[in-house]
């Protein structure tokens, strides 16, 4: 630990301990996925939307189709690769916005004046009560469908859990003595929030963050079927899953298994990174 670099306090206490092998592995997985996604057009053996009625429902390991084909003969490998582009973009971006916005709103609620607290908390109530469908359709109608809309829509409909967790965590932390000590140093509310409260609330938030990625990837597919943003024809892991829904128990299990595995791997990798970033030394006392 002697080698730990001295940082100016005033930065969010995010100190990734890169020496843990798990962190490296997780980072590598994400980078690899990103590379696969970017290189999808060159790596894919087939056009991901081209059907082939001569080779439908091939199991994984079939010649020419390492992951098999779906019921209309589209190559699953190509679809997975192309799917990574949409899913990683939307999943990571939307989750990042969700977590950042949720945390900030939660922090504002907990650290700000009472009316702000009420405003944020009640807005969360309102959004939690409305079916996502309605919010998203209206949103898309106003700003028009695009991948940006999807990201925005996911963030707009899922920041609330993060915010409420952050808020409760901050509510419980702001009475701690070390927060008082920070005020005694002459720090402003904002500084105390940024240097002490938020990093303290980070571990629980980080533990949700990874799931938000999964949530965003799956929500993206729901949205694409609603015509918001990514066309439902364009492969994404979420779309692959949703399309495969009826095949889960009829033999083509792999049409579900591959995209599901990809989602799970992604959120695991994100989780490892997020916890490494948040844990630092995750003591609460």
């Amino acid at each position: 630990m002697a080698g730990e670099v001295v940082r100016r306090p005033g930065f969010l206490a995010v100190a990734v301990r890169v020496r843990r092998p798990g962190v490296w592995a997780a980072g590598l997985v994400l980078v690899a996925l990103a590379v696969l996604a970017v290189a999808a057009p060159w790596l894919s053996p087939y056009d991901p939307t081209a059907t082939d009625t001569a080779s439908t429902s091939l199991p994984p390991g079939s010649p020419g189709h390492p992951l098999g084909t779906d019921t209309v003969g589209r190559d699953l490998l190509s679809r997975m690769l192309h799917g990574a582009r949409t899913s990683l973009l939307v999943g990571l971006a939307a989750a990042a916005i969700t977590v950042v916005a949720g945390t900030l709103l939660g922090a504002l609620a907990a650290a700000g004046p009472r009316w702000l607290d009420e405003l944020v908390a009640r807005t969360a109530d309102v959004l939690l009560s409305l079916p996502m469908l309605v919010v998203v359709l209206a949103l898309a109608a106003v700003i028009g469908p695009s991948p940006g809309t999807v990201i925005l829509a996911v963030a707009a409909t899922s920041w609330m859990p993060v915010a409420l967790v952050a808020r409760a965590e901050l509510h419980s932390q702001r009475e701690r003595l070390y927060v008082r000590a920070a005020y005694a140093l002459g720090l402003s509310r904002g500084q105390v929030l940024w240097r002490h409260l938020l990093p303290g609330a980070f571990p629980p938030i980080a533990s949700i963050a990874a799931f938000e990625v999964g949530h965003a990837i799956l929500t993206e597919s729901t949205l694409s079927f609603l015509g918001v943003g990514v066309p439902p024809n364009r492969p994404s892991w979420g779309n692959l899953l949703t399309e495969a829904q009826s095949h889960l128990l009829t033999g083509e299990w792999y049409t579900v298994a591959f995209p599901a595995a990809a989602v799970v791997v992604t959120i695991m990798a994100v989780n490892v990174l997020a916890t490494a970033a948040a844990r630092g030394d995750g003591r609460a006392w």
């Binding site: 002697a2 001295v6 008082r180 005694a184 030394d281 003591r283």
Partner: protein
Amino acid sequence: MSVLTLRDLTVDVPGRRVVDGLSLEVGAGRVVALVGPSGGGKSLTARSIVRLHGDGVRTGGRVLLDGTDVLALGPRELRAVRGRRIGYAFQDAAGSLNPTVTVGRHLAETVRAHAAGDPERLGAEALRRCGLDPGTLWSAYPFELSGGQVQRAALALATVLEPELLIADEVTTALDPVTQAAVLDAVRAQAVNEGRAVLLITHDLAVAGRWADEIAVLSEGRLVEHGPAAEVLQAPEAAFTRALVSASGTRREPPAAAPPGDPFRAVRRARRVLRGRARTTVALDGVDLDVGTGESVAVVGRSGSGKSTLVGLLAALDRPDEGAVLAADRDVWRLDGRSRRALRRETGLVFQDAAASFDPRYTVERVVAEALPKGDDRRRVAELLERVGLDPAMAARRPATLSGGERQRVALARALAARPRLLLADEPTTGLDVLAQERVLTLLDDLRREERLAVVFVTHDLRVARRVADRIVVLADGRIVEDLPAAALDTAAHPETRALLTASDPAATFPTFRS
């Protein structure tokens, strides 16, 4: 026959061996004081006895309780021993209580866990033994108590089942002399009358001399001296013990009283009411206090008299319910936030509960660095640590792994880092051995001289009060009952002050009687 036997106990922390072959016996009916320098491994020894192993800490050797090897017990047997046969009062009393559970519940659950009788009755008795009123404190949460009250609650918790062996790790550091005497008398009486063993860990030779039968001195990881209390104190053999005894014996003259400077910080007719979940306390009631530039004021008073509350007001952290806090004659609560923050920056504050005042995620380095004024070189962190007597290598550690005295000094270093003009120190030296304490006090003297630092020093130790203060203020039940120059302390008339003076009479320090 000895209740507790330690054989060749070793304790390793990452990078070094702190306790290196400690052997010690504590007999039934005996109070053994374990003294030693701050950071000397006393607490780690105590933790080893009850088999608490922190992160990265390893223990070797044997711990025998009435002949049974504690280190070899299975989980179930260990549970039966803990709490019932061994009581352990932590040095960090505030941290050792669950903030989400009331004091009463802590007591009751302990009694219930061992099916040892009526929880309410036993719990209330334990509180009373420690000088606490169960009526008001039973349903209080730990964070609603004053420092001394928490400490006594924690001690009550350790002794609620009247265990055969009590390990008391610095359990009276936050207590005024009167309360301290009452509490330790009770502990000692229990040991002597009921034949129980007490391992009393303390840095305070006066305490050791007055309440212990034997003193064991731990230095450099080994027992350097062990013998009857009077012998050790009167004829110390080991060099370390000699240094300790001589340091606590000498009575240094207080520094020449500084000329009263301009009024710097003041409290006017302040009243502060603290509201807990179940009770409301008027912690301060019509308090007036002035602190001038470069002046040093000691605040003394019984535990729970409102000292820490007063500090909170002076620091411009808490708002009085009535009255005002003035800084340079301006009401700080009428200032805008920015000026108030500027004011706080020129005030260094050492909290009574040093451990809890650090962000648990911060390293020592960051803790101190955070307080540095803008533009200050971060190398000052090491310098500050050195000035308070700490190894700068400690900078990379987390406060949670520090010893009690080390934490206090980190807190002091942080308070001084901002180059304050006023230092508010709430019992900042209670966890320090005399040598370390002297070093810190000298540092404060220097600062006062060189930088005209004003100091408000909350302490229960009249010796320290005399040593640092120009003026001494005595608080009782939220009111200032005495405010007089340090030199005039012995002439004080108020009964509260007299009680404190009597209780800390050096004559009582080295009792000549032994039962």
